[in-house]
């Protein structure tokens, strides 16, 4: 179709004329939508607030420095709680995600018609709700504290881990699985020898990647009362104790950087 004849010569184009017109049209619509949104945002912005942005920022920065270094002695416990929420939350999530992933993968699910949709539903529903919202719900169910944060992180992570893991399961080399089957191995043995070794690198990568994300997510859970360093941040913000706030932000930054460094190292070592 993209080929046509002109003066006995074969002319070739990537797309037909119609396809080309449709593409131009799509770009035009996209551009129009972008400009319209730009105008809407502009109209709804209180531009006079922007007049003294520089001053406000400078003012807050001035109040926030130097950070209240002595306050650091009180942050040990919240930081520990935050790391505990992230780590335990990831472990519990993985324990629940592994069976879900095997039920969801096309090549290992016991039933594509009944079981797989249920597993996929678990994945979608746990993934689609933000951990902050899970934490809000759980704080009202189990009360404020670390437990609520832990459960929120676990639930939120199930879908993420299970989704990546089931994609890894679907991409395994089937011949290796056939070879194990051909020895007369039982289905469970086929899983342990044929499938598990093939998905181990993916599993380890997913685990540290999610742990890394969870450290960041668990730092904010305290804002809704679910324990950890966010709780300290919340109470400092409430009393406008800017030097404490800046220290807490620094501590969070350091914790996240260390988390990323560890997960990068671990992933590098495994893959």
């Amino acid at each position: 179709m993209p080929m046509s004849e002109k003066n006995g010569q074969k002319v070739w184009q990537v797309r037909t004329t119609n396809a080309q017109l449709i593409r131009w049209g799509a770009w035009l619509v996209g551009l129009a939508a972008f400009l319209y949104s730009w105008k809407e945002i502009s109209d709804n912005t209180l531009w006079f607030m922007m007049d003294n942005v520089g001053e406000v920022v400078a003012d807050i920065a001035g109040r926030a420095t130097p950070p209240a270094w002595s306050f650091i002695t009180e942050l040990g416990r919240p930081v520990w709680d935050t790391l505990a929420i992230a780590t335990l939350g990831t472990i519990f999530a993985l324990i629940m995600a592994v069976p879900v992933a095997f039920l969801a993968a096309r090549n290992t699910t016991p039933s594509r018609i009944f079981v797989r949709p249920i597993a996929l539903l678990v994945i979608v529903s746990t993934r689609s709700v933000n951990s902050l919202i899970w934490a809000l719900l759980l704080v009202s169910i189990v009360g404020p504290g670390v437990l609520a944060g832990l459960i929120a992180i676990s639930i939120r992570s199930i879908g993420f881990c299970a989704k990546l893991l089931y994609e890894a399961i679907e991409e395994i080399n089937v011949v290796q699985v056939e070879a194990i089957k051909a020895t007369g191995a039982s289905p469970m043995q086929v899983m342990v020898y044929g499938i598990v070794p093939q998905i181990m690198p993916a599993f380890a990568g997913i685990a540290v990647f999610r742990w890394d994300i969870n450290i960041r997510e668990s730092t904010v859970l305290g804002l809704v009362g679910a324990g950890g360093i966010g709780l300290a941040l919340q109470s400092s913000l409430n009393v406008l104790a800017w030097p404490k706030v800046s220290l807490i932000l620094l501590v969070i930054l350091v914790a996240v950087v260390i988390g990323e460094w560890v997960s990068a190292k671990v992933r590098g070592a495994i893959i």
Binding site: N173, V175, Q176, E178, A179, I180, K181, A182, T183, G184, A185, S186, M188, Q189, V192, Y193, G194, P197, Q198, M200, P201
Partner: protein, 261 residues
Amino acid sequence: MLELQGLTKVYNTGDKALSDVTLSIPDGQVVALIGPSGAGKSTLIRCINRLVQPTSGSATLDDVNVTALGSAGLRKARRKMGMIFQEYALVERLTVMENVLSGRLGYVGFWRSLFRKFPQKDVDEAYRLLDRVGLLEMADKRADALSGGQRQRVGICRALIQDPSLLLVDEPTASLDPKTSRQIMRLIVELCTERGLAAIINIHDVALAQMFVQRVVGLKLGVVVFDGGPDDLLPEVLTDIYGEEDWEATIEKVDDEDEEV
């Protein structure tokens, strides 16, 4: 003794991969299965151990009708059929030893296999086999650290440790260089002779097949069109199986004395 009776396979797509294949292979006989790509060679050997479910017909090994077995019976029957693959099909991230011992999975319970607690006699046999194929010092290497020829030897060990009475060999040399190919073929045939094993070897290389086997079966579009000794493979026969081509060079006898296994 392996007996195939009217074995037929029609895939869901409607492709008839095998039609009415009837063969009988006595104990200890090594058979080469030749034919063009898509002739149904892989399907045939997979229908025997039911990695592919045959549509009709039967495969009977030592008086057990494998086609009619339930899942527990099938696993038991598969123990008697060692399989060797084209791309070796080792579990890449397991060690050589684990790969060899995985040939015993049909005999060992789940928990023992999970914790790699194989019976001592299996471990002894694994070491003996690795020594036999010259890979003893590789036992603790990961499978993906080995060369092609070495991997295929590990594949052979995995098949043999099952203590099979039949070997199903799918293109064992297709991924190997010519010299390694010969070494692997020779090794397979020697081991079959040592143990009195029957074997079906799918192979593209007609000259290589002629060099090592006692019987050749030609498959074309799922039908057996030739069954005879390696010396009966005349140009007319090859034309019948593969189509028109100059076959004189292919079936020339090749000397092979200068190689060691």
